[in-house]
Amino acid sequence: MGQFGNLDIFGNLDIKGNLSVRNNIINNDIVDIRVVDENTVLYQNIYLTVYITTKDGRLSESDRPVSWLGPKMKARPLVHWWISSTTLGAPITISPTGRNIITFTSTPTEGTMLEPLTVTNASILRTSLTSTNHKFKIYITSNEAGSPITRYFNAWVQGIAKSVSFQIGGAS
């Protein structure tokens, strides 16, 4: 088969052998993580919404595609996530006092917490299933208001981890 500079395919591409790409392959069905702090004012308690979408913002289309797999069904991304003090750092250890405290609601506003089912403040890797809109939303609490602190939301999907900073601990 030939070699190309750019190869743009707007339909389907079926390759029975190998596809070698020496630079970038932009597959719009590989999902990406996007974390949005939707709070317009920095508060002691904030919502973070995590979107698991394709690069162009669509939902994953990884529904089972062929008959041998049974009825076509809606597939949803699962995410491991944790909060850290540095980019992709260790899960944060919760201390009993000060603004350096972050707690979570036991039930996400959107999506489902899979592990641990009983949420404690312990430093731990957490696992969530997204909603049918392929996102989940968590409520994070700092123990007291004051100067904002920067923390990092880290998420791992399809084997790749990504870290996004956010601020918490402003006006109560």
């Binding site: 395919i9 339909g11 079926d14 190998n18 790409v21 990884s62 991304p77």
Partner: protein
């Protein structure tokens, strides 16, 4: 630059700069999960194999190694909006669960008896890319269980409803 509406390539395709695909790319090593339920034919029925199959698009197994999955039982499946969290299976319905094929990695490593579905389990498949769970029922009260088996591979969760009846 070359553009295609649709292309099937049976050999190799080498792109030295960038490949942009706005449709789907059928990568034969993208994996999917399916499920099956097989009883051993005994009467009264006392056990069932619940099988988690991890396959490529063409129904063959991956050449990239042994798939690892998360799996759990829940009241509802991934197509629902609520109650997908791992749920307790009544020990009077399913007495215990063991692995016939594959291994548990977390929270109880090995193939021995595991808690009845309460946890999110992490397991690795056998060489056939299957996990076979052996569900032992309670014959005393002709027990039954209805729920969803959920399994995640490569970041995507698949689920299927199943019902089992133990006893006559």
């Amino acid at each position: 630059m070359s553009k295609f509406i649709e292309s099937e390539i049976y050999g190799n395709c080498d792109v030295n700069n960038k490949a942009t695909i706005n449709g789907k790319i059928y990568n034969d090593d993208i994996l999917y999960v399916s499920f099956s339920k097989i009883d051993n034919g005994d009467t009264p029925l006392m056990d069932i194999d619940l099988r988690i199959h991890v396959r490529r698009f063409d129904n063959t197994i991956t050449k990239s190694g042994y798939p690892m999955v998360h799996w759990w039982f829940a009241i509802s499946g991934s197509d629902a909006s609520t109650n997908q969290e791992p749920s307790q299976v009544d020990p009077n319905d399913i007495v215990n669960i063991t692995y016939d094929n594959g291994y548990e990695l977390d929270p109880t490593p090995g193939t021995s008896v595991i808690a009845s579905g309460t946890d999110l389990h992490t397991a690795i498949t056998d060489s056939a890319n299957d996990i076979i769970l052996h569900l032992l029922g309670d014959l005393a009260d002709d027990s039954s269980f209805t729920g969803y088996i959920n399994a995640m591979v490569q970041g995507i969760v698949y689920s299927e409803k199943f019902t089992i009846y133990f006893g006559v």
